[in-house]
């Protein structure tokens, strides 16, 4: 990795100087400065709401700053549109890709800048140049392929190739790995390393601190719209980054302490999940226990918890909650028996995005409200305000649509809607995905307090730290079966990974 001392002395590729940006009611950026040098990967991290996206938009010409200035290669610049930023060599690679799926790769790369002569497209040079750019991002595909046929990761690389073909000298990547697999992520890292060697500057935004640690030459931390410190080289550690982002010490980040496990609350015997009918699944979760369901994406963890919850049909086996068998296999029956699920995709299945905080909070409990079947606005208001307070949901009013809340606050609502029912078994599927660090901590505290109250918690997580930090026990799934079980004393990254990839042979 080229954390070279000589690049420190050179003129910054881009310097952001004392930028302020105010939106009605909030100071998004206050006096933020940063500099990214040629051939450097600068990671910008911060909680949701810290101002990262606003800063990126200013750097890419999407929004103008209220105050402050930008410099590129020592010369002041003022972008009034994204086109001007692109012309100056700035490329923004978004979370959502900005490509036309029906066009070929080459057409996408040269969209709007097609090589032409007297208005006629010159497809030969276009293909040749496209292939060159694709090679420079390590993508060995035919430029005539239709973009939609490529996997997401390759499409992302095409977008980078497009940026390079426009002679970008500064590439801003906004959560580039959020939808990539581990292998695809590795490939992206290789490309980032290559770009760095070629002298391209990269501003890398990510929630994934391990990636930041792997890639970044320097880390700029933002908190509440202000600079909260810069980390260089050896200083870039997980704990240092998190403590700067949350502005407090990390000793208490995972608040979990093992409780004396009580009665078995959830018992699954011989369960056959429809997606992996060749295996049967047995598991138990006791009162006060927090059990992680670990494994790789696609190992069948979500399918398992959704089958327990009744969203998916079980082909066989028995589920009992507090000794009572779940019959009927419907969601309503599971909920009546005290099972709750916070699904992985809160936008599609966890929440009614256009509905208010109150409507979402009360939705699952409405049928058993004291006034049911009649609605009682006073009851709804009262319980919602209690929940908002208990969970620390940051929302303007109870009537605010949840779509306008931040990811962390949305997740609190998705979780909070079950608290009214006082569940016996809480199933959580990736409970902190897309959630900022502050809200993560609050969600962990909530899980901790629920388990202290005797709730049996089973959570699916792909985040190693979360499993290590929160679980009393981890069940590791591999290709639809439970490949092994690890007690808290046995929990380690290596042990989890071995079981997850199926290399360890352990009897279950």
């Amino acid at each position: 990795m080229s954390r070279s001392a000589d690049s420190v002395s050179s003129t910054p590729r881009m310097r952001v100087h004392s930028v302020c940006k105010r939106f009605p009611g909030v100071q998004a950026l206050a006096d933020v400065s940063l500099a990214v040098r040629p051939g450097e990967v600068l990671a910008v991290i911060g909680e949701n709401g810290a101002g990262k996206s606003t800063l990126m938009k200013i750097m890419a010409g999407i929004q103008p700053p209220d105050e402050g200035s930008l410099e590129m290669d020592g010369r002041p610049v003022e972008f009034t549109s994204p086109a001007e930023a692109i012309a100056a060599g700035v490329a923004l690679i978004h979370q959502e890709l900005n490509l036309a799926e029906n066009l070929t790769v080459a057409e996408n790369i040269f969209l709007g800048r097609e090589p032409r002569r007297w208005g006629w497209l010159r497809s030969g040079p276009m293909q040749r140049q496209a292939a060159e750019h694709l090679r420079s991002v390590g993508l060995d595909i035919d430029p005539a392929t239709t973009l939609g046929e490529l996997p997401l990761a390759a499409q992302q690389l095409v977008e980078i190739a497009k940026a390079l073909s426009a002679n970008a000298s500064l590439v801003i990547m906004d959560e580039p790995t959020s939808s990539l697999s581990a292998r695809e992520t590795q490939r992206l890292f290789t490309v980032v390393d290559r770009l760095r060697r070629q002298g391209v500057s990269i501003v890398y935004i990510s929630h994934r601190l391990a990636e930041v640690q792997r890639l970044a030459d320097r880390v700029e931390v933002l908190r509440d719209g202000r600079n909260a410190g810069t980390l260089c080289g050896e200083e870039i550690t997980h704990d240092a980054m998190v403590s700067r982002m949350v502005g407090r010490d990390l000793n208490q980040f995972f608040p979990h302490s093992p409780h004396a496990a009580g009665e078995v609350r959830l018992s699954v015997r011989g369960l056959v999940v429809a997606t992996a009918p060749q295996h049967t699944i047995d598991l138990e979760v006791r009162a006060g226990e927090v059990v992680a369901l670990a494994g790789l994406v696609g190992a069948g963890r979500s399918e398992l918890v959704e089958t327990i919850f009744g969203v998916r049909p079980a082909l066989g086996g028995q589920i009992t909650v507090d000794g009572k068998p779940l019959r009927g296999g419907t969601v309503a029956a599971s909920i009546r028996h005290g099972v709750a699920l916070v699904p992985e995709d809160r936008k599609a299945t966890g929440l009614l995005l256009d509905s208010s905080v109150r409507d979402n909070m009360t939705l699952a409990a409405l049928g058993d409200a004291p006034s049911a079947p009649w609605r009682s606005p006073t009851w709804e208001q009262r319980v919602t305000s209690e929940l908002i307070e208990r969970l620390g949901v940051r929302t303007a009013t109870q009537n605010t649509p949840v779509a306008t809340l931040s990811g962390g606050n949305q997740q609190k609502v998705a979780l909070g809607k079950w608290l009214l029912r006082e569940p016996a078994v809480l199933l959580l599927d990736e409970p902190t995905r897309g959630v900022d660090i502050g809200a993560k901590h609050e969600i962990y505290e909530l899980i901790e307090s629920l388990s202290a109250d005797g709730v049996a918690v089973l959570f699916v997580s792909s985040e190693m730290e979360e499993v290590l930090g929160m679980a009393d026990r981890a069940l590791v799934m591999h290709e639809g079966r439970i490949a092994g079980e690890l007690d808290r004393s046995e929990l380690s990254e290596e042990a989890l990974m071995q079981l997850a990839v199926g290399t360890a042979r352990e009897d279950t």
Binding site: A28, S53, T54, S334, L352, A364, L366, P373, R375, T404
Partner: protein, 441 residues
């Protein structure tokens, strides 16, 4: 009133205002009464389809179901005509008036319990004791009385009587049929089953609502034509009482200036009859409103329409609610079918109710229901139905040719939808600006 509904009320007022400006007859009491009645009927089917639209579905079979319900009603009614000897009993008796000088005997008027056949002077009213000469008929207080020469033995109340002419019994035609209430109940039951089938196919069969109800549209129209031998069926002169009570006025309400603007009277206040169908619509709307906004199920239905998966993951019985929505829609279509039949008196199986599903859907969409589901507005829907009927009348009153009907209605609908969309985008943009201000990201 939410801004989403505003457009439709503005449009309604504009149509009423403009039409009245150009032709005051729009405010004629008769016109207003028929507008209220039409709006009520179209309003019922619009409310029905609104429920389906809220779930994110659609019902195209409404018009056909209206025709089929009418035909079924008539078929079950089993209307038969018989010619029988007239027999009845005495309901009321009173002296006709003081006998004039020269009249030999006092006259009496008699009201009978059953409708009178055609009576001629010279017929005899036969009672147990006597045979009384019929002099003619008299209209008293809206009813037909027999004027008879009573002689020494006037009939008494409750006595059985018969009519004879030249020694023979007077014959008359009576119609026999099942009770209209039975017929109505059967029709509604049938339509509920139709809705149930639609709902089951959509919710459990996972078929697309558009396809299911498009098949319904064809099948029910065909069934109506088969059942009626493809000929118009009607009441004839049967079930008068039922038709009068269902189609009649519930009360009168005052409308200032209407008569003067229409030029039909000089009174400052015109009293206008409010039909029972309007009362029915009000009751259905109130029930729908309470269901939708005051009960848990209504909230569940809206949640289901907004995001079926999220509703399912919250333990809501999404399939049962979907079925319920289709049952409500088809049942209201059946109810409207009966009321249309009462209004029209005959049901032409191949044309009755054509396009009505589209009027209903248009009214629902104009009134604030999103075809994406999850959004409902009952008052707006009724306003939408009213817009449709007012436009129809306006075309007539403003002397625009009938052939322009669809063009005008289509254009007005389009204007309404565009206006709504413009308002929606404007408020969304304002909201977005406020949101951008609320968070820095």
């Amino acid at each position: 009133m939410r801004s989403r509904n505003l457009g439709i009320f503005v449009l309604l007022l504009a149509i009423v205002g403009l039409t009245t400006w150009f032709n005051g007859l729009f405010l004629d009491p008769g016109n207003i009464r028929s507008l209220i009645r039409d709006t009520s009927l179209y309003g019922l089917i619009s409310i029905g389809v609104a429920f389906v639209i809220i779930t994110g579905g659609i019902d195209l079979s409404i018009g056909s179901l209206i025709a089929l319900s009418g035909v079924i009603f008539i078929t079950i009614g089993d209307f038969q005509k018989y010619e029988v000897d007239y027999q009845s009993s005495v309901a009321a008796v009173q002296p006709f008036r003081e006998p004039e000088p020269g009249e030999p005997e006092p006259q009496t008027v008699v009201r009978l319990r059953d409708r009178l056949p055609t009576v001629r002077a010279g017929d005899q009213l036969q009672t147990e004791q006597a045979s009384l000469l019929v002099l003619g008929t008299e209209r008293i207080e809206g009813q037909t009385w027999l004027r008879v020469r009573s002689g020494g033995s006037p009939p008494t109340i409750g006595q059985a009587v018969a009519l004879t002419r030249s020694g023979q019994s007077v014959r008359h035609v009576i119609t026999a049929h099942r009770s209209p209430w039975t017929c109505g109940a059967i029709v509604l039951g049938f339509c509920a089953v139709v809705g149930l089938v639609h709902g089951l196919l959509v919710a459990w069969g996972r078929l697309q609502p558009f396809v299911v109800t498009l098949c319904g549209l064809l099948i029910y129209r065909g069934m109506a034509r088969i059942l009626s031998d493809d000929t118009a069926k009607g009441f004839g002169n049967a079930m008068l009482e039922f038709r009068q009570s269902v189609g009649g006025a519930a009360f009168e309400f005052p409308l200032p200036f209407a008569g003067r603007i229409a030029g039909t009277s000089t009174a400052w206040v015109t009293w206008i009859e409010f039909p029972w169908t309007g009362v029915l619509l009000a009751l259905v709307t109130a029930a729908a409103w309470i269901f939708l906004y005051k009960t848990v199920y209504g909230r569940h239905l809206l949640a289901l329409g907004q995001n079926e998966q999220a509703a399912l993951y919250s333990g809501i019985a999404t399939r049962r609610l979907t079925v319920l929505a289709y049952v409500i829609c088809s049942t209201l279509a059946g109810l409207a079918g009966i009321l249309f039949l009462v209004d029209w008196t005959t049901m032409a199986p191949s044309t009755a109710g054509n396009f009505y599903e589209l009027y209903a859907i248009a009214a629902a969409v104009l009134g604030g229901c999103s075809l994406r589901g999850g959004q409902g507005a009952l008052l707006g829907v009724i306003a939408g139905a009213a817009v449709m009927r007012c436009l129809y009348k306006s075309i007539d009153l403003l002397g625009i040719g009938k052939e322009w009907e669809f063009v005008v209605i289509g254009t007005a609908l389009f204007a309404g939808v565009v206006f709504d969309e413009a308002v929606r985008r404007y408020s969304a943009r304002k909201k977005l600006a406020a949101r951008a201000g609320a968070t820095s990201e």
